[in-house]
Symmetry: none
């Protein structure tokens, strides 16, 4: 009804980005539901109404960031690195993801948390992020199985295990606690683990081990 004192005309392309930045920071700190548009506006240094000049809804802010900061960069990242020993490939990719997820830590968190209860978002992540991974991992693993480098194993299982591990290392960090190693060490070690498992190179039939303690932890 009133519309007083419009502040300042900003660089028009920057605005959108600023709002996105502010929103993703707050989402990351507090979760999507707990973050209000008022807070976002305040953090971006604009009026509440201005948000809606750039985004149709609060939810679109979530989707927009996922699109522009997770999905798009992903396509850009796919490049170079053609052939290399499995170990190297694994390590590189894992490191890459670890870095990305570390950097976007807070934001990935929200997306996951939201996706739990927002089928639309879950579907988006599934479509745009996971499906491609399935295909690539399938190729990679089936190739290895075909030429005898890998055991006959379900590629889906490998993908899930790898994604899960990355998940535990980057996103669940708050819960599992920090890992003392550098991300590069983590990547290299994880790659080795996924390739060789726990077993010593020359298998020895193991003596009995207690398992129950295991149960208590996660």
């Amino acid at each position: 009804m009133d519309g007083t004192t419009p502040k300042r005309r900003r660089a028009p392309e920057t605005r959108r980005e600023e709002i996105l930045q502010a929103a993703s920071r707050l989402f990351g700190e507090q979760g999507y539901e707990r973050t209000t548009t008022k807070q976002i506006a305040q953090a971006a240094g604009i009026a509440e109404g201005t948000i809606y000049k750039y985004f149709a809804s609060k939810q679109e802010l979530l989707f927009a960031f996922l699109e522009s900061s997770v999905i798009e960069p992903l396509n850009a990242i796919i490049s170079g690195m053609t052939g290399a020993p499995d170990e190297e490939v694994f390590a590189t990719v894992i490191l890459n993801r670890l870095d990305l997820w570390h950097e976007r830590h807070e934001f990935v968190k929200v997306n996951i948390a939201e996706a739990f209860f927002n089928p639309q978002l879950a579907a988006l992540i599934h479509e745009k992020l996971f499906r491609g991974g399935t295909r690539a991992m399938e190729q990679f693993v089936r190739g290895g199985i075909a030429d005898g480098r890998f055991r006959d194993i379900d590629p889906g299982l490998v993908l899930r295990a790898v994604v899960g591990a990355l998940f535990a290392f980057s996103i669940l960090r708050d819960i599992t606690g920090p890992d003392p190693h550098t991300r590069e060490e983590q990547a290299r070690e994880l790659a080795r683990f996924f390739l060789h498992g726990l077993r010593a190179p020359q298998p020895v039939e193991p003596p009995v081990t207690p398992l129950l303690p295991l149960a208590l932890l996660w």
Copy 2:
């Protein structure tokens, strides 16, 4: 005359439990923020105000359920199963967790989602659930390393990878899509994977493989 038994004055200890049950089911289905106290009261067949006779706040409901339904039963579950081949141990434990998480699927979801943004809850989970796991896994892995069954590997990494995998299989299911195998198959296969990795039993030096496709996916 019909289904609406006027539920007056139940066993006072049962009430608490009923509310907890109702709350955790709803939290699981819709997320914590999206579940209202009205819904909880309705589901528990009581008045809204009654909730506050048993719990100081909505948040306490979350904590209470974690305590009584996840942590306590966990301690009960830890039992028997002394010695057995690593593969068996692993498979059993994984299956056990997979089953538990499957059953509690919805609830674990909320706890994780909430823990992302609630340091108090994150600390609780870390303390009561994860720390114990760390100790046990440490024992298990260090034992294996000591007697030559396992490579020299960081037990923390193994734990994180295993937890992550379980996570991906049970909690991220909505995002990664369902796995076509039975939980038993999953458990056995995961155990084998964690023990042996991808590599074929008789190592073959791999030809070069393209890795980039891998990058595109998760």
Copy 3:
């Protein structure tokens, strides 16, 4: 989030009525769109949220009043008055409507204004108020035509003209200005006008006619 100091527990049946009264008064004074739920709450001496314990939405307030104050009384009004000269029937019914509309003046105004742009409400009014009127007027007029008391005329036209006149006398008052006569005089005069038109009289004494069907409709 906070819910402080609940004021007072009122007579439970009264509340709904109080809110309805407050709403219809404000709607009448300012129009539907211009009346805010805050104002309604204030006028009813309650908190804003309380409105929504009794009505699902602001729009429902509009519909509820139409239902309870216009439609229901209409059915109650249909009574007694069986046979009487046309002139008496007409005058009575017109007076009755004139009184009702006068009393509800403000509220009818909103409903009409709203119905202009709200097809749902328009349909409701058409269904519940106008259709019945059509039927009754049809009977009345066709009866008169059949026994030679009335000219061969379209009953729909008569109904529209009568409703329109009532409309002009009660609702358009603000625009047409007030009429100096008492409502009874208006009613009698209108009845005569509708029966005889402008033309100077060539009176015919009418046989008795039942009037009640007429009452039910507009």
Copy 4:
């Protein structure tokens, strides 16, 4: 290249008209409150801010249109038609109004709806439209009474009844439902009704009467 002619710098007087046209169409379709300045700007092919170069406020748009599109043309319409049988006069005038209101249907709707709650607008309509009608109808009816063609009847009542009927036939159409007859039939039949009422005829042939003054008022 396509339909988006960049409409830069039109004839400055045309602009005002274009905005008015756009506004009145939208007001008519959706009501005044529900029409946004953004929609008006879009419909007029201009920027939102430009509206305020021509009109001080949204409300002024309403007044401006009433002035320029209803009142002014009305004065132009008043013309010719000197003497003719009452029936002819009535029918002509009613048809004229019916046509005008039909054409302006949507706009009249808003004005009425608005006038209900806007005394300023109500007064304007009363002054400029209704008062003139009162005078003319007074002349017409008093003339008829004087020379014995009409019964002794209050001219105000006749005007109100006629306006109301027109109202019901053109504006309330959405509520009363459509009339199956042509507008010409309606006009003729209404004229007959107002002259003769419902009563079976004892016709008296009326002398000629002037009709034009009638046109100026409602």
